[in-house]
């Protein structure tokens, strides 16, 4: 993994999500949406560990996955705005982006959808031979849907080449009872007991730590590639404050990259976020400390990313909407 590149991708995801919230505020799209802020390290490290032929099924919180896998932000933003030249011709919107050119199988907003479809991909990849693997990305809430247990049973029974990636963002979540966005409600204290029950090897990793995620992801992917059966990665992340309410906000403000070296303005309600939980700032500090990057390079990198997202934003806004009657184009092959 090229650290600078990884940081750039993480920051790209961050700026992308900041742009998404802006566009929603400007009524450029009206539907419910979900931010990947706070989870960037997971997407970037995981995709780093995957090969070009691997298949991925993901869920409603998919923006970061699609971008980390290499999709162009301008096509992703165009998609969210429902434009003709979006990743899915404007038909999927924010919750269903499925970039099949990059191995995305399907993106389901039905909790339990991605874990079950990914299991099927693993079944096909095993049957077809070769060494491609399947990845199922889902949240902790998916472990409340019965179909997820059923799917784990299949993966274990039939030794399927799949890596399950559960992004647990419940820490600090309000949940429905708290009037916020729903979060995990489970009697299972340690969610890793669930895959363990089915005999699926599992590890918990700190989702704020790029290197840690890459390390476990690489081993998980290798095991599946070697056809040694499924692996379950439980990624623990602190929930982004802006993802606590029913509708996302940029609660911590637009990310100020200078916080990576300048402590002085870090304070207030979100101090802990800036210091410990923001995966982007964390990784930036780490690279600065290691001398992998210096302040000027970091500023330059940030400028480049801002510019790219600004261009993507304009591209999306300038893009044409699909013809109304194209609504019937893809009901059947």
């Amino acid at each position: 993994m090229n650290p600078k590149q990884a940081l750039e991708t993480m920051l790209t995801i961050r700026r992308f999500e900041e742009a998404v919230v802006g566009l929603f505020g400007e009524h450029e799209f009206m539907t419910h949406f979900h931010l990947y802020i706070g989870q960037e390290a997971t997407g970037v490290a995981l995709m780093e560990a995957l090969g070009p032929n691997d298949k991925i099924a993901t869920h409603h919180r998919n923006h970061g996955h699609v971008l980390a896998r290499g999709a162009d932000p301008k096509h992703a933003l165009a998609e969210i705005l429902g434009r003709e030249n979006g990743i899915n011709r404007g038909a999927s919107g924010t919750m269903h982006m499925a970039d099949t050119d990059r191995g995305f199988l399907a993106t389901s907003a039905i909790v339990g959808g991605s874990i079950s479809l990914a299991t099927g991909a693993a079944f096909a990849l095993k049957t077809q031979g070769g060494d491609a693997i399947a990845v199922g990305l889902f949240g902790d809430g998916a472990l409340e849907e019965g179909v997820s247990y059923e799917s784990l049973n299949f993966a274990a029974l039939w030794d399927l080449p799949i890596v399950y990636v559960c992004e647990n963002n419940s820490e600090g979540a309000l949940g429905s009872a708290g009037g916020g966005f729903p979060t995990s409600v489970s009697a299972v204290d340690d969610l890793t007991d669930i895959p363990r029950t089915f005999g699926i090897p599992v590890e918990t990793v700190d989702g704020r730590d790029v290197d840690a995620v890459l390390d476990v992801a690489a081993r998980a992917v290798e095991q599946a590639r070697q056809r040694k059966g499924p692996f379950f990665i439980h990624v623990a992340t602190a929930r982004y404050a802006g993802s606590q309410p029913l509708w996302p906000t940029i609660a911590t403000g637009e990310t100020d990259i200078s916080m990576a070296w300048d402590d002085s303005q870090i304070s207030g309600e979100h101090e802990r976020w800036y210091r410990e939980n923001d995966p982007v700032l964390r990784y930036a500090r780490q690279l600065l400390a290691a001398g992998e990057i210096d302040q000027d390079e970091l500023k330059e990198l940030d400028r480049r990313v801002r510019e790219r997202i600004a261009e993507a934003r304009q591209y999306a806004l300038d893009s044409p909407r699909p013809a109304p009657d194209s609504a019937l184009d893809h009901v059947f092959a």
Binding site: T31, H32, G82, M95, H96, I110, G175, A327, L328
Partner: protein
């Protein structure tokens, strides 16, 4: 009388049951949706928190839980969320709840009230935009309520919770904020009584849920062109008030059915078939169905609008119907 929205009306009813029945419970997440009205839930939650249950994302089990509890005499208002989230519970609803009474010779009953939100969501895409009335209407054993307007909602919801039968209450996801004059006191609106929301002699427009509002708007436009439409709000699909529909059609001779669900095997098909069967001689023109087109809804407002029933489409259908020249005998 006071001006209230759906959310107010629902809370009126739920509050009364909380007060009337010490065991009455409410189960579900985002019971008042995720729009601005969601906030109205908080004072209710404050007051009755111990009997308000926020289940995990396990629709199959929590609908079965509500049904099992109802079998033991407990009334639970159960909110499944958006209609597509009721699909993981489909086996529970179709094979357990709908069949419990008949399959036991009348000895078991599961008088649970299941609430879900339906409708097109301005780009919400297929997995959030179902209007599943046709699917559930094919499952006898469940009463189905499809109200429009907070006053009807209040009276029908009370009847639903009191009913000794399982009841599905399907309201529009965009309806929570809809306002209207609502009586303060408690009242029940009997099931199986459609409401003539507008009288007219030229064409009968049958609708439910939000399509009632569109049909009334269409009727106004039609009036401008000299066509008087009678608008019938079904209010409940099960039981169905066939009489009101048939009487209206025998008066007008023309039928338009407007439904937000899909065409094939949907509400519009059922009403059109029933009228054709039962009031054939009264019909002067083909019955017309104005529905969501038969395609999964893309997450795109432009495409969604194309697929959606609309005031324009209702107006056009009514005109076509009233201008139909019967074939020479």
């Amino acid at each position: 009388m006071a001006t209230k929205n759906y959310a107010d009306a629902m809370l009126d009813v739920l509050t009364t049951f909380m007060e009337e029945d010490p065991h009455f419970a409410v189960m579900g997440n985002e019971v008042l949706g995720i729009g601005p009205e969601a906030g109205q839930f908080e004072p209710f939650q404050q007051k009755y928190g111990d009997r308000i249950h926020f289940p995990p994302c396990s629709e199959a089990a929590f609908s079965a839980l509500a049904a099992g509890a109802a079998m033991c005499g407990q009334r639970i208002f159960t909110h499944l969320g958006l209609a597509p989230f009721s699909y993981p519970a489909f086996s529970t609803i179709a094979s357990e709840i709908a069949t419990a009474r008949q399959g036991s010779g009348g000895r078991v009953s599961a008088p649970v009230t299941l609430h879900m939100s339906h409708g097109l969501l301005h780009g919400g895409a297929s997995q959030h935009s179902e209007s599943p009335m046709g699917i559930y209407w094919n499952l006898p054993g469940i009463e189905i309520v499809v109200p429009w307007g907070p006053a009807d909602l209040k009276g029908l919801l009370r009847t639903a919770i009191k009913s000794d039968n399982p009841t599905l209450v399907i309201t529009h996801a965009f309806g929570y904020g809809t306002e209207g004059e609502v009586p303060d006191e408690d009242y029940e609106i009997p099931f199986g009584e459609a409401a003539v929301k507008r009288e007219g002699g030229d064409v009968t427009i049958v609708a439910c849920s939000m399509m009632v509002a569109m049909s009334l708007e269409a009727a106004d436009r039609l009036a401008g062109e000299g066509i008087e439409a009678e608008v019938i709000d079904l209010r409940t699909l099960v039981p169905l008030d066939e009489q009101t529909i048939l009487e209206s059609v025998s008066k007008t001779g023309h039928l338009v059915v407007a439904d937000e669900g899909r065409l094939r095997c949907g509400v519009a098909s059922e009403i059109a078939a029933t009228v054709s069967e039962r009031a054939f001689d009264a019909l002067k023109a083909p019955p017309a169905r104005v529905t969501r087109m038969d395609a999964p809804v893309p997450g795109n407002q432009t495409q969604e609008a194309y697929l959606s029933p609309s005031v324009e489409k209702i107006v056009a259908a009514a005109k076509r119907a009233t201008r139909h020249a019967p074939a020479p005998a």
